[in-house]
């Protein structure tokens, strides 16, 4: 698995498919913080976590379409198609997690507050994790091998990101609103969004890895 991860990570960096998600994330973070000059750390972290959903979905999509079918076939013969797929998803998630962490650190540094940072920072990281998990699930569920038509995959990914943001059934939405000022959703007790996001991720990755061997041409 280590070898597969090295290969997929190297492929991500060499193929420059990380550039677009990085620029998008950096732009959105700076734009989000620009207007509110010295906004509360919690708000900044919420924002950086929220935009991690599309960024993670985009990264996942990039990775799922990065490897030519023939190259994937060679890897699959050596390691099995499911493991090859898992390594791809893990590499994308790791890259997104690094982005998320960097984003949270940026918010920490640029926030106006100088005291009592640890608790909101850790809470913010928790939300970022939920958003990263949901973003990865979205990218996995609405891209190959589940949805193979390029246009359909792209459009449904975008739609799913919006749903993940606004729908009350989304763990990401619940996490972002859960600890916000006063809105404490009764349906989502503490910790549940994270657990739900993990379940969603496990399910989507499971389906993707299972299908990778069956739909491989």
């Amino acid at each position: 698995m280590t070898a597969l991860l090295r290969y997929q990570t190297a492929n991500l960096f060499r193929s420059h498919r990380w550039i677009l998600p990085l620029i998008a994330y950096a732009l959105l973070i700076t734009v989000g913080g620009a207007g509110s000059g010295g906004q509360a750390l919690g708000d900044g972290l919420d924002w950086s976590a929220a935009i991690l959903v599309p960024v993670m979905a985009l990264l996942t999509r990039s990775m799922l379409t990065a490897e030519p079918a023939a190259a994937r076939a060679c890897v699959s013969a050596a390691s099995g198609p499911a493991r090859a797929q898992l390594a791809t998803l893990l590499a994308a998630f790791a890259a997104g997690a690094v982005l998320g962490l960097a984003g949270a650190c940026y918010e920490l540094v640029t926030s106006g507050h100088k005291t009592a940072l640890l608790v909101p920072f850790i809470a913010g990281l928790g939300k970022a994790l939920v958003c990263a998990l949901v973003g990865s699930s979205v990218g996995t569920l609405f891209n190959p091998p589940l949805i193979r038509h390029p246009a359909a995959a792209l459009l449904s990914t975008i739609a799913a990101v919006v749903v993940a943001w606004v729908s009350s059934i989304s763990p990401a939405n619940a996490a972002l609103h859960g600890s916000g000022a006063a809105i404490q959703s009764a349906a989502w007790p503490a910790g549940v969004p994270l657990a739900a996001a993990f379940v969603l991720l496990a399910a989507s990755w499971g389906i993707s890895c299972w299908l990778a061997g069956r739909r491989a041409e």
């Binding site: 280590t2 070898a3 597969l4 090295r6 290969y7 190297a10 492929n11 060499r14 193929s15 420059h16 490897e67 030519p68 023939a70 190259a71 076939a73 060679c74 890897v75 699959s76 013969a77 050596a78 390691s79 099995g80 198609p81 061997g213 069956r214 739909r215 491989a216 041409e217």
Partner: protein, 359 residues
């Protein structure tokens, strides 16, 4: 010795059990109901027209794609060379091979040596540092071949791997296949050149319409005309509605083929199981049946199931006899092979039976 680290299954043989593949529930079957036991150390050639499912069957064997029905078991560590390897990755040839070598289970030191070694053997050393994207089709093909061979796999699957290679590299690949076979690995391949490794081939699998596979053993007999060809066709037709049939061709058959395909006095020998003693007369009455060997002692009880019975059939009639036999209840065709006609075909005339094609 073999370095089948990932498999660790020792001597277990590669088995296909009623394997089928289709890409979607409403899609047609590309490969269907293929059963085979592949002993280690065999060289198997897959033949068939375009679209007959050769590549798909190779992918199933290599573990690149999972079957939609049935299962593949006992697969050793596999190396796979795809039909086209377009590069498209942002690695240099050497970097790519290092990554693939590690994925194949080699250590860092082994992988560097193996990668350089294979690039040199295939005549690609000068391009080791070039990005895959800039390589020609032939050079990409060499890289694909090198990655498959790096870890000396127990199963090598070559999908038209020779296409696009220069003469020297073709020779190197032939030698590499020899080497793999020598170390006890199984090699399966598809190639357009009927002469490719012709003297080494142990088995031929003919894929035709109807997603059935006909399996032949023996090195010769690559012409569509002649006895073997016509039997293969018959078996294929029959297998389409029953079960895959193993077509065997003994060494004698190969000899008579070489002497003059079509004109040599050869007959098809069909080995059937599950035949009832009382059906022997019915069998003898079929047109084209020249004789049948059976355990004479068994003839007392007409309903007794006989052991394997070898039916000698005129080649021209093999098609219709096979079809008839397959329509009989409880009767299974185990093998079909082509052999020169002898006065009394008996058990002593056995070819080497692999039992492939049986469920």
């Amino acid at each position: 010795m073999l370095r089948c680290r990932r498999s660790g299954r020792g001597v277990s043989e590669l088995r296909l059990e009623a394997v089928g593949k289709r890409y979607g529930l409403r899609q047609p079957w590309i490969v269907r109901d293929v059963s085979a036991e592949i002993a280690a150390g065999r060289l198997i050639r897959l033949e068939g027209p375009n679209g007959s499912g050769k590549s798909t069957l190779l992918r199933l064997l290599a573990g690149v794609t999972m079957p939609s029905a049935g299962k593949v078991t006992g697969r050793p560590h596999a190396g796979y060379v795809p039909e086209r390897f377009p590069g498209g990755l942002a690695f240099s040839a050497r970097e790519y091979l290092r990554h693939l070598g590690r994925i194949h289970g080699l250590s860092g030191f082994e992988v560097t040596r193996a990668a350089d070694d294979w690039l040199e053997r295939l005549g690609a050393t000068d391009y080791a540092r070039a990005p895959l994207k800039t390589l020609s089709k032939g050079m990409c093909q060499k890289v694909a071949i090198a990655q498959a061979l790096l870890a000396r796999p127990g199963l090598l699957v070559l999908d038209e791997a020779w296409t696009g290679l220069d003469q020297a590299a073709r020779g190197a690949l032939d030698a590499a296949v020899d080497e793999r076979l020598g170390e006890g690995a199984t090699v399966l391949f598809v190639d357009h050149d009927p002469a490719r490794l012709a003297d080494r081939v142990d088995e031929r699998w003919q894929l035709g319409g109807g997603a059935a596979v006909t399996m032949t053993t023996g090195p010769a007999g690559n012409g569509p005309a002649g006895g073997a060809g016509s039997v293969a066709g018959g078996a294929r037709t029959a297998a389409g509605r029953a079960e895959p049939v193993a077509l065997e061709q003994g060494a004698e058959g190969a000899g008579s083929q070489a002497a003059g395909p079509g004109s040599a006095p050869i007959a098809a020998i069909i080995e059937v199981t599950g035949l009832e003693a009382g059906s022997l007369a019915r069998l003898g009455a079929l047109s084209g049946v020249l004789g049948a060997s059976a355990d004479a002692a068994a003839a007392d009880d007409p309903f007794l199931k006989l052991g394997p019975v070898q039916v000698t059939v005129a080649v021209e009639a093999s098609d219709s006899v096979l079809r008839e036999l397959l329509s009989w209840d409880g009767v299974h065709v185990a093998t079909v092979r082509v052999s020169p006609v002898r006065a009394s075909p008996g058990p002593g005339q056995d070819g080497h039976s692999t039992g492939s094609g049986r469920r």
